[in-house]
Amino acid sequence: MSTQTTTEEKKQVNLVRKFWDWLIDRLDRTGWLAYKFTIPKRFVSPLPFLGFLTFICFLILGVTGALLMLFYTPSLTGAWQSVETINNVIPYGEIVRNIHYDASNAMVFLALAHMYYNYFSGRFKIRNEIIWVTGIIFGTITVLEAFTGYDIILNTRAVLAVSIGVSLNYSAPVIGPQLVHTIFGSGFPDFILRFYALHIFIIPVIMIVLALLHFPRILTFDIPIISAVFGAILLVGGLYPISLGSPYYCSSVIAGYCQTANTYSSVSFTLPEWYLTSLYAFLRTFMPKFIAGILLPTLFILMFMVIPFVDKSKKFSWKDRPFFTALGIASIGQIIITTYWGFFIDESPSLTKTQALFIDPVQIFGAMILVAALSYVGTYAYLRRLAAKGAGGKAARGRRPQAVNFLTSKWVFAILAVMLGFQIFLNFNAALAAIRGFPNLVMFDLGAVVMLFAIMFHLYRYSRPL
C-alpha cells in the first residue's frame, strides 16, 4: 500500500521474486506443476470444488491416520486395547482419533455432495466420461475405506461388521468362498490383519492412482472454505466425541491368555455407520443376503456409472434435463429413506429381537418406488412451473446487482481485531482444557479457532479492493 518502497525493499522483493521464479522454473520439469491452483480473489460458491474439499479431508485423514498408526496394533487380541490406549493414555490421542473419525464421515459426505453437484449441473458432459467413472469408483472405494477403518477398532460393532463384510463376500455365487479365502484369509486373525492392510495401504494406494485419473488439472484452493471444513470437523468432534465401545475380545490378557470373563457379552443391536445403514435396511428385509447386500447396491452404483453414456443431450442445466434431474432427486430420496429406516429400530421391550429388526420388504421397496414416482411427478411439475414463469432464464432476469462493500476499512479492521482477540482467548481456553484433561473441550475450542480464521480470511478477502 505504501508507494515509497526503498531500493532495499525493492531488492528484497526482487530476490524473493527471483527465487520464486527459479523455483517454479525448476519444478516445471517435475510433475508438480501439472496442477494449477487458482486462489479465488472473491468469495465463490464451494459447490464446484467440493471434490478438492474431499481431497482436503483425505489429507487430514492421512496425517491423523499416520499418527494413529504409531500406536495401533492390528492383532485380534490387542487391537481394542491399543485403541483404548490411544484414547485414554496417549497425549492428545483422543483428539487425533476423533479428527480421524469425523474427517472420514466428512469425506464420504463431501464425496456424495460432489457427485450430486456434478450430476445436476451436467458438468460430466464436457468430455468427462473417464473422470466421472473413476469418480464413482472413487466414491465406492471411499466408503470401503471408511468401513475397514471402523472395523479395525474391534469393539463389538466392529467385530460384527467384519463378520458381515466377509460373509457377504463369501455369499457371492461361484467365486465367493475362494474370493474370501484369497483376499481375506481364513479366520479372524487373518481378517483383522488384512482389513488393516487394506485400510492403511492397499485402498489408499488405489485411491491415489484413481486420483491421478480423476483430478482435473485446475484446482481451486479456497482457504476460507478449507479452514471451515477443518473447523467443522473439530467442532463436531468436540461436541460428539466417539465412544470406544466395549471390546469384543479379551477384556485383558494375562500370561498370554484372553480373560473372557466380561467378553462375548450379548449386544442388543448393532448398527453400521450412516453410509451403510441403507445396506443394513436391505439386509433386515431378510431377503437373500447376496441380493440384498451386494447385488442391489452394485446395481445402484452402476446406474450412476453409466450416466454420461446415457444422458447424451446437449443440455447442461438441471432445468433442461427433467428426466435425469428427476432420477437424481429420486436417488437422493431413496438414499434418505433407506438410511433412516436402517437407523430405526423399535426398541420397545415387548418386541422380540427378530420382530424389532425385521423390515417388511413390501413396505420398504414400496416406499422407494413411491419416492421415485413422487420425485418424477414433482420435478416435472416444478420444472414446468419454472419454465412458465421465467422464460428466458438468466438473460431475462437481468444481471445480478454488484455486491456492495458496505463495510469501511475501519470497520473491517475493528472486526478483525475483535476476532483475533477472541481467537487468542479460545486458544488460551483450549490450552487450559488440555491441561485439565477435557479433550472434547480442546477440540471444540480449536474448532472455533479455525472457524474464526476462516471467517477472518473471508472478511479480509471481502474487504480487499478488487
Binding site: L76, L193, A261, T270
Partner: protein, 371 residues
C-alpha cells in the same frame, strides 16, 4: 509372328515380374516404409532369368487335374498375372494366383474339353513336379503329383509379435504358481484341539479350570443357563482363541427338550446339556442364548435377528418353534436360507470326571450342521 510373340513375351514377363516385384515391394514397403515404388509404376526391364515354360504363345494352358485342386489362401492379394502361358513359372507366385491369359479353360474343366493343343505341351521338369500338369498322350511320364503345399502366409512382423505375446504370457503365467501366497493363513488354520476340557470362562483363563455342569451360567454370564467357550481351544495362543470361528455356546437345555442324541446328561441333576457353534449361519455374527426371551428359550443373533432353538421342545407362545431339531433356525433371515444353511453346527460333548469335554464338531462353522 515370332517377333511379335517375343515382344509380347517380354512384355508379359516384364509386367508379371513387375507384379511379383510389386508384391514383394509391397511387403517391404509396409515394413520399412522407405521404398517409394508404387505397385502401378512401370518396372524397368529385367533380364530374363527364369526359364520359360516353353509353350508357344497362344497355347491354352492345360488345366490342373481336378484331383489336385489349387488351394487358395484366404486373404491374399490376388494379383492376376497377365500373360500367356509363356510366363514365369507358377513357383514364383503365391499359390492360388489366378493365371489369366488368352483363352483358356477355367480350372476344373475336364481334360477332355481341351483343344488339340494339349498334345503339344512339353512341360519342363521343374514345373511338372509342382503343377502336376498331366499331358496325356505323347508327353514324358511325370513323377506323381504332389499337392501344392498349403501355406498360410505369416509376415515376419506378425510372427515376432506372436512370439512376443506368447513370451509375455509365459512370463506372467510363471507367477501364477505363487498365488497360494495370498491364501496362506496367519491365524488359526486347522487347529487341533490341545485341550479336550471345556475351559471355564468365568475364571482367569491362564488357569485352565475345567467347566463343570454346575458352573454353566454362573454369575459372570448374562444368561443363567449358558456359557461361552472355545472349541478347539489352543493352549496359550490368545489370538487363536479369540477367533470368532472357535466361539461356542454351552446350553443347559430347558426341561422337556430333546437333544436328539447330541446332548449329554448330568447324572447327578438330570439336566441335559448341548453345545453349538456361536457363529450365526446368516452373516457370521455371534449370537447369544437367552433363556428369558419372550418367545421362549432361544438363541438370538443381534445383527439381523436370526433365532435358533437349542432342541426340540414345545414353545407355547410360538408354536412354529416347537419340535425342531437342535440348532435349527426358526426365525429371522437364517431360517429363510435353504438347507443346509439353516442349522447350527453342533459341538459334541461328553462329561468326564464331572467336567465337560468337547470331542468333535458336526458341521462346518458359518455354513451349517449338515454342510
Amino acid at each position: 509372328m515370332s517377333e511379335d510373340s517375343e515382344n509380347e513375351e517380354k512384355k508379359a514377363q516384364a509386367s508379371s515380374e513387375a507384379e511379383s516385384q510389386a508384391q514383394t515391394s509391397n511387403e517391404e514397403k509396409s515394413s520399412t516404409e522407405t521404398i517409394s515404388i508404387s505397385p502401378s509404376a512401370p518396372q524397368p526391364q529385367k533380364p530374363k532369368t527364369t526359364p520359360m515354360i516353353g509353350k508357344p504363345i497362344g497355347t491354352p494352358v492345360t488345366p490342373r487335374p481336378t484331383s489336385t485342386p489349387i488351394v487358395k489362401p484366404a486373404a491374399q492379394t490376388q494379383t492376376p498375372v497377365v500373360g500367356g502361358p509363356a510366363s514365369t513359372p507358377v513357383a514364383s507366385r503365391p499359390v492360388g494366383t489366378p493365371v489369366v491369359g488368352t483363352p483358356r479353360p477355367s480350372v476344373g474343366t475336364p481334360v477332355g474339353t481341351m483343344g488339340p493343343i494339349v498334345g503339344t505341351v512339353t512341360p519342363r521338369p521343374g514345373i511338372a513336379s509342382l503343377a502336376g500338369v498331366s499331358a496325356p498322350g505323347g508327353a514324358p511320364k511325370l513323377p506323381p503329383s504332389k499337392p501344392p503345399e498349403s501355406k498360410v502366409e505369416v509376415s515376419r512382423r506378425n510372427f515376432i509379435k506372436g512370439l512376443a505375446i506368447v513370451g509375455g504370457l509365459v512370463a506372467v503365467g510363471s507367477f501364477v504358481p505363487l498365488f497360494p501366497y495370498l491364501e496362506a493363513s496367519v491365524g488359526v488354520g486347522t487347529a487341533t484341539p490341545d485341550l479336550p476340557v471345556v475351559v471355564n470362562p468365568n475364571v482367569a483363563q491362564n488357569q485352565l479350570v475345567p467347566l463343570k455342569p454346575a458352573d454353566v451360567g454362573s454369575l459372570n454370564s448374562i444368561d443363567p443357563n449358558s456359557s461361552y467357550f472355545q472349541y478347539p481351544y489352543i493352549v496359550g495362543n490368545t489370538n487363536a482363541n479369540a477367533d470368532s470361528f472357535v466361539q461356542c455356546v454351552l446350553i443347559r437345555m430347558p426341561a422337556g427338550f430333546n437333544g436328539e442324541g447330541y446332548s449329554v446328561t448330568d447324572t447327578s441333576t438330570g439336566d441335559q446339556y448341548i453345545a453349538f457353534s456361536r457363529v450365526c449361519v446368516h452373516l457370521w455374527c455371534l449370537w447369544s442364548y437367552n433363556t428369558n426371551d419372550p418367545r421362549g428359550p432361544v438363541g438370538a443373533c443381534p445383527c439381523h435377528g436370526s433365532t435358533y432353538v437349542p432342541g426340540s421342545g414345545t414353545y407355547p407362545k410360538t408354536p412354529s418353534f416347537s419340535n425342531q431339531a437342535p440348532g435349527t433356525a426358526v426365525a429371522g433371515p437364517a431360517s429363510l436360507q435353504t438347507p443346509p444353511n439353516n442349522m447350527l453346527p453342533i459341538i459334541q460333548l461328553t462329561i468326564v470326571d464331572g467336567s465337560f469335554h468337547a470331542t468333535g464338531r458336526v458341521g462346518v462353522v458359518g455354513c451349517g450342521q449338515k454342510c
